[in-house]
Chain length 233, copies 4
DNA sequence: CATGAATGAGCTTTCATTCAT
DNA sequence: GATGAATGAAAGCTCATTCAT
């Protein structure tokens, strides 16, 4: 039987560790919930599973989030809008022609968002927006608006430089946006379960889209697309 | 005592009346189901609620549809797949140039599907496909495949007539599809709850899209869009 | 359009036929119910199926029987106890030795009851007796008692003739009864669904049983069993 | 502030108390289920009622048993199949002559199974086997097969020792089985509701059966039955 | 704070029974 | 009488949420 002292020390260590983890709990839960919501959707994700993946008990989840809806809200809030400064900076600084900038933009989006689980958030928001109007508004404001503004600036750059003809900005933005959102939605719906033999290859799809769009936007045939442009560096 | 004829006629009338009611039930239930599925999603719609909205009891629903999934399939068949013959016929018979045919196609889609609650089904399937794989497969087969085939034929028509340049059909189809699905999804997600001040006007959006796409597809500037083309007649 | 007279005559014929059938309805329903109850048990038999097999509608069934329980009672009441006079007469008249009479009795039972759907009634009563005490009492009185009495007389015949040793009649009867009821129950329970590779052959089983019993009952080794005794003629 | 040791001990006690309750749940539920299944049959017993009788809620039942069928299997395992090792051991170890072993076997069966509510399970399975084929197969495999094997070994022992004449094992087993199953079925059907004045006394019935059977099996008159053999010690 | 046993409202589906026709 | 469309009470099972420990 161990001495009291020893026990006490162990208890202190445990407590310290627990308190350290305590602060991390909400983040761990939110991370687990993100994964699961993206994998299975909101309704099909069981609270207990989120807790288990976060390494805590079901009860603990409800200690930090009043309800499953609450958890969903936290997931969305935690996972967006933080990266806009970086993106904005990158595209403002771009030196090449605007057609290439548009190409870069969509590739970058695929690399950073579309191809990661973050695209699941978009799809999730689409699915659940009508059930969480307040959240949808938040998403609109924090994600969609800034994204649209960035696209608008890129298009305007092309118009100003004379590369593009005149554009009705209101819809021009959606011209760029639609293929991306379509891809995010598709990937997490039909892309995962059917569509097997004729599967959409996202990079190819985006390439074709962007060339068609550029062909439509440009005053003259757009500069040829770069054969191999590195994205991530 | 009434004459036999009289009795016979009464019986016929009675049967007629009852059968008229019986015949109407499935349609009423399908209509109610469409509304509710679009409002709340498939999983969140309770069978009893559908019944109530159709003015019958829970049991009656299952008298006509073996299961909730079955009811959903009926909704899809009644509202989408069943109408392909009509759509196919219409577009096969079209006499004008292919650019106008593409324009007509998208306007028609908006009039028949996008602008009605039927577009909610598309959004619904996107949201719930991964949770109901069997439904997703059904939808893929009954809706997406035929729709894609129709688009493919339209594009091929333009290529064959020399109006369009060469098209990678695999992605060409999605070029047309994406704006429509985007619109359907958007309308039933952010479109309903936020987006208020800068609301997307679908007809305008589709017009812009189709012109951009045509500009991208056509060998030479496409024929001017008709200023006012009637859709529904 | 047919003349009124013609219609009237048809109607009259139909009515006549209907009235003729009307009297037969309960019997037809009971017959259908017997089959189905034996096939599937009481709870698993659906009222509508009984009606369909009897060629009438669900509503009609409830016109003649107040409830499914009521129908069950009728089934049991209609299908028993009528054949005892014939059986009693046959066995009273038997001229051979008692060992052979016992053999004949069990073979006859198998031919008339065990091997027909009537044995399903026994099994049914066993299963449902505790839910229908009044019916169980009726069955006890109308079926079990007369059957036991018959067996008792047969055994007594053997004792009186000196073929059998002394028998405690109270249990001697069950010595004969048990294999028969066991067989009826087994046949309609495990006999139908498992037991496949080692299936009980009823005639063989009864033969073995009766010889063992006779060996136990007889003062000296019983007469050899007849090699081939025809039962059904 | 209590010492660490004290806290540790309290925690241990708490956990112990809760786990004691948790450990007891399955047994309580199985006991309640046994009662109700025997009283009302498998299909007619509602899961909620079992829970209520065990003093828990519906949900709790499904915390411990995945389905109603699962619960039934647990009832069978807990009360029958689980006891075969004990029974087998007991009869393998028996030293006396085989006639006495057969007598002991049937008395023991009566004491452990027939006379308790467990015999209701046998009757239940007979009644519901055809409606629940999977349960029937389970029962066949877990109960009937091992039971038959035990009987077979006992009979073989008598044949090997020269006490019994040659036996067709296939039916010899049923010779022993039939009176027991008959008794179980009878007791839970007609035995409970009628049969009052001429009630079967099970021990006597079994005695008579076993002596008749032994008389039939043995080469020479079997050893006299012990006048008073203790069963349970 | 953390746990996880316990809860019970809620869901789809079935089917005996009713009753307008 | 006869019909069969309509009903709604159950039933098995799930899972977000609670709360004693």
């Amino acid at each position: 039987m161990p001495s009291p002292i020893c026990l006490f020390e162990i208890a202190a260590t445990v407590r310290a560790k627990r308190e350290r983890r305590k602060d991390a709990r909400p983040a761990e839960l939110v991370a687990a919930a993100l994964e699961l919501f993206v994998e299975k959707g909101f309704a099909a994700t069981r609270a207990e599973e989120v807790a288990k993946r976060a390494g805590v008990s079901k009860g603990t989840l409800f200690l930090y989030f009043a309800s499953k809806e609450d958890l969903f809200k936290a997931v969305v809030r935690e996972n967006i809008s933080g990266r806009y400064p970086e993106w904005n900076a990158r595209f403002e600084a771009y030196q090449g022609n605007t057609a290439d900038l548009v190409r870069l933009f969509m590739r970058q989006w695929w690399a950073d968002v579309g191809n990661s689980s973050i695209s699941g958030i978009s799809k999730l928001m689409m699915s659940e927006a009508s059930n969480f109007p307040e959240l949808a508004a938040f998403y609109q404001q924090e994600v969609i608006e800034p994204g649209s503004a960035l696209i608008r600036r890129i298009l305007q750059r092309g118009v100003d430089s004379g590369e593009f003809g005149p554009i009705d900005m209101k819809y021009g933005v959606y011209t760029i946006l639609a293929p991306m959102l379509f891809l995010a939605t598709w990937k997490h719906s039909f892309g995962t379960c059917c569509d097997a033999n004729n599967r959409l290859v996202p990079e190819e799809y985006l390439s074709v889209q962007v060339e068609t769009i550029l062909h439509g936007l440009c005053r003259r045939p757009p500069s040829l697309p770069p054969t191999q442009e590195t994205i991530t560096s």
